[in-house]
């Protein structure tokens, strides 16, 4: 038995480099192919550099920014909505037992996992009748409806792990339900919320069909810009656009991750 405290530094460094290469290489490739549209076998990098795609992006910067901010807006709103939708149900699913719970938990996953066309038409008709179609609220609602499973699962896991005793203890000390939720449970669930929120944000941010069908083009979206490019053969511009697309969630993740990690590190937790 080698002393537990001794950790193999070289193994760690090698592994870390491996992870970095593995996960960064696609981005490097995207960068290269965005400036080298005519990059071909057997060259390891583009032989000639073209700034054309970046130029195009620059020319489109105003509409791009508009679309981008609209996308960020409804994606964040979706994260908030799913969080609100999922909190009490997740606590209930984690802490109580009833017949058919597993079944219900499973069924609640389905919206995220079947093609959106499965319910898109029906929802659109329903939204048309309620006046939600072509509105920001409608887009947020439809995105929440199909991305909530990504929030629900981490939350249920988080609640299960947290157990009931913290909540009980806080209530016992006289805290109201709201204070208990806000000051005790939410901070403890932060890693789970972050995990769920990241995925929900991404799913909402990347969704194309539903945003267009329900938002009807009056709610602008960056994917409306990106997806046709990705589907076309203009790889260079598509790559450049993808990089731009990458930027927003990346900054958001880095920021939230940093904040949460600092929060827990300070508190002596192993994050």
């Amino acid at each position: 038995m080698r002393p537990l405290a001794k950790q193999n530094r070289w193994y760690h460094i090698l592994f870390f480099l491996g992870v970095v290469v593995l996960f960064c290489s696609p981005v490097v490739v995207l960068v290269l192919s965005s400036i080298g549209p005519h990059w071909q076998f057997p060259h390891l990098w583009p032989q000639e550099v073209s700034w054309e795609p970046l130029n195009t992006l620059w020319n489109q910067r105003l509409p791009l920014l508009r679309h981008l901010s609209s996308s960020i807006g409804y994606s964040l709103a979706t994260v908030a909505t799913t969080l609100l939708m999922c909190l009490t149900p997740a606590a209930t699913l984690a802490h109580s037992h009833f017949r058919g719970k597993t079944l219900l938990e499973g069924l609640l996953l389905t919206p995220a996992l079947v093609p959106p066309m499965t319910y898109a038409m029906g929802l659109h008709v329903a939204f048309l009748h309620t006046g939600l179609a072509d509105t920001f609220a409608g887009v947020v609602l439809v995105l929440s409806l199909f991305s909530f499973p990504y929030m629900l699962r981490p939350l249920v896991a988080g609640f299960e792990q947290m157990g009931t005793s913290y909540g009980q203890c806080a209530r016992n000390l006289g805290a109201s339900r709201l204070r208990t939720a806000l000051e005790i449970e939410l901070p403890l669930l932060l890693p789970s919320i972050l995990a769920g929120g990241s995925v929900v944000f991404l799913v909402a941010f990347s969704e194309y069909f539903l945003v267009f069908l329900i938002g009807g083009g009056s709610v602008e979206s960056f994917t409306g810009f990106l997806v046709p490019l990705l589907q076309s053969s203009n790889r260079a511009l598509a790559s450049a656009c993808t990089l731009l697309f990458l930027l927003v969630p990346l900054m958001l993740f880095a920021a939230s991750e940093g904040v949460v990690a600092a929060y827990w590190r300070k508190r002596g937790a192993p994050i």
Binding site: T56, F209, S218, S233, L237
Partner: protein, 382 residues
Amino acid sequence: SEPDWRTKDFERIIEAARGTTVRWYMYGGWPHVNEWVDTYVAPAMQERYGISVKRVPMNAPVFVNKLINEKSAGKDPGTIDLVWINGENFKATKNAGALWGPFAEQLPNWQRYVDPSTVAQDFGFPTKGYEAPWGRAQFVLIYDAKRTPNPPRSAESLRRWIQDHPGRFTYPQPPDFTGSAFVRQLFYATTGGHEQYMDGFNATLYARNAPRLWEYLNGIEPSLWQQGRTYPQSSATLDTLFARGEVDFSMSYHPPHAQNKILDGTFPASVRTVALANNSIANTHYTAIPFNAPNKPGAMVLANFLLSPTAQLSKYKPENWGDFPAIDLDRLDQSQRRRFEDVDLGPATLSAETLAEHAVPEIPIGYLEAIEADWKSRVLTN
């Protein structure tokens, strides 16, 4: 309530449209087209009519579904003023009653410059004035003159070329738009030309002729890319394979496509196009107005502007787009016509005359559906 704009004088329509916004829903995957709309159409419309044009990128199937739903829910007004549409999508929306019209023949530029016979049918489906033409496209094969100095120019020589160069050719899998058009061309070529099919779908004729097409396709299959085990799922994938040098041909339903790709750097400068002799399908693409368009006058003014010789000329220039005019050049005056003739399409795009020489019309939609369905059972799974 809204006046019936179909009966109104166009001057009044322009008047009513002044100061409004037109939301134009169109395919957004071609950056140069987007740019042309944003930097040419929109300012011109603003300047001439005080109309602000808002381009909304949206794939046709999405707005088709949206319109059909809005129709069944009776939502009026909607959000779409004008759409870029043709073929099956036009048929679907028209059949669902989701289009407004007829309006096309009312447009001054339609009356002045359009040859009605060329736009009476869209894939064999009567347009009845529910859509206004604004461009023309034609099918071409794309090759690299450096790699393939002598490209085949007929179905027969193509077959030989493929068999001589195993693994270097493929086509997108129908129902991909481009792949499907390629198969339709071969249908014409292997069964004795297009004329016989122009009167609408004839099942017995189809049953008699189709086997020859399957024979051709199955004949080349073993020599295709990946031994024909698999086909690219989209023409974009085929473009990529071609650009990376995995196959020697790409194809497009847009003659300037190769030139555009050279300009944006995807294809090398030595890329050229070729049309199959006397057998290159051409079609027209259109604009249409949804039944619940909130700004019908504005949409009509835009559709009319797009048909104007200036707009058509601008669109025709390869640095803008290179899309072929939908208007009949014979109806233009001399100087206008000269300007069209003077446009240098670029080395990769075939000239208008060459294309016109080999152009054949699209097949009625019934054949298209039959071919796409049978391609699966006769070519793919056999």
